[in-house]
């Protein structure tokens, strides 16, 4: 085991190779480096802090479990974003299933309706951060984001807050660059519709 504290400049891909050999320091360094990006992507996607924190931990558990199988074909950051995005989409699916248990079948129309997230933790006490987030404008932005279909929402978050290229977003979402292009065109149109009226 190579249990030395890794340098700041060590590539995440190299840290991952050390994690595969059971290096706890390398794992800790990886978590510290990527926890902010992972947590904020999930938080912006689902809107609930406590659940976001649980899911962020789940992402790192998967990283730890997959260390032995990790191949350096893609950038580590792309790989971990991909795990995070998949977890977000799974969370959406299971939340929808939970919702279906409680609600009689709604007469919802519209292609995107199914993609919309049933707010998880809506049955839970809001955390102090959740309360802060209810400051009017923050709430509107959060609601506008969550009103987007899942893939549009992921594309917007990865572009706006992580400043990724269309190519990287395509790799994360497992689609083509032109699909990302049209996702963002539609997402921006939807956001304008939802956010600009509040300005006046």
């Amino acid at each position: 085991m190579n249990n030395n504290l890794p340098d700041e400049g060590t590539l995440s891909e190299d840290l991952m190779a050390r994690v595969a050999k059971g290096d706890n320091y390398a794992f800790e360094a990886l978590v510290k480096r990527h926890q902010g990006a992972v947590l904020n992507l999930i938080h912006r996607f689902i809107g609930y802090r406590a659940r976001a924190e649980d899911l962020a931990q789940e992402v790192f558990i998967r990283v730890w479990q997959a260390a032995g199988r990790y191949k350096r074909t893609a950038k580590f950051s792309t790989w971990i974003y991909r795990i995070t995005a998949n977890l977000c989409l799974n969370e959406l699916k299971s939340a929808r299933r939970r919702k279906l248990l409680f609600l009689s079948s709604s007469g919802g129309k519209g292609e995107n309706r199914e993609d919309r997230y049933f707010e998880p933790g809506a049955d839970r006490e809001p955390s102090p951060e959740d309360l802060l987030l209810t400051a009017e404008r923050n709430r509107q932005v959060s609601a506008a984001l969550r009103s987007l279909p899942a893939n549009q929402r992921l594309a917007v978050i990865l572009k706006r807050y992580d400043d990724l290229s269309y190519r990287e977003i395509a790799q994360i979402l497992g689609c083509s660059v032109s699909a990302v292009d049209s996702l963002l065109v539609r997402a921006k149109r939807n956001l304008r519709k939802n956010l600009i009226p509040y300005e006046k």
Partner: protein
């Protein structure tokens, strides 16, 4: 360039993801066209509004809780390891084939060894034993076919009975 086409491409222009020729063309159109310019400003305003969803920091103890979860997993790794062992087995078809080959080989070897045994039991009647072995091939469907475990047991039992007499 037509305004309609410019406005369609504005979201991608904003991200700087058009070809450099297209980027330049739209840029110069925006300086001359108030309507498209207004649309673009609105798009930028929306993008700015999204900054009202600030970054959060992980709660204190994030890493500690993660470590606890992982060490909990390490303790419960026995079942996944068992599963790994089973994953090492070839496909179900290969496993079944392997099992069948094993069974047939076992029966064959059992027969050969047992026939040797027959000679040992019936050393005093060699001619009878030979005749018996040659008849074995047509007695496969007997209740206790020659060479089977049942047959062996019956023969052993009768042999020891004879010895007692």
């Amino acid at each position: 360039m037509k305004c309609r086409n410019v406005q369609k491409r504005l979201p991608v222009y904003q991200d700087g993801e058009l070809s450099s020729v297209e980027q330049d063309r739209i840029k110069s159109h925006l300086t001359d066209c108030p309507e498209c310019s207004k649309q673009y400003k609105e798009l930028q305003r929306v993008w700015d509004l999204l900054s009202d969803f600030p970054d959060i920091q992980p709660m204190p103890g994030f890493h500690l809780r993660l470590r606890k979860k992982i060490s909990g997993l390490r303790e419960h790794q026995f079942i996944p390891r068992l599963r790994q062992v089973f994953q090492l087995l070839p496909s179900p078809l290969a496993t079944v084939t392997l099992a069948l080959v094993g069974l047939v080989t076992g029966i064959y070897l059992g027969n050969v060894i047992f026939e040797e045994g027959l000679v040992f039991f019936q050393r005093r009647q060699p001619s009878y034993a030979q005749e018996h072995v040659s008849l074995a091939s047509i007695r496969t469907f007997d209740a206790a076919p020659p060479g089977s475990l049942t047959h062996g047991y019956l023969r052993m039992a009768s042999h020891s009975l004879e010895a007692h007499r």
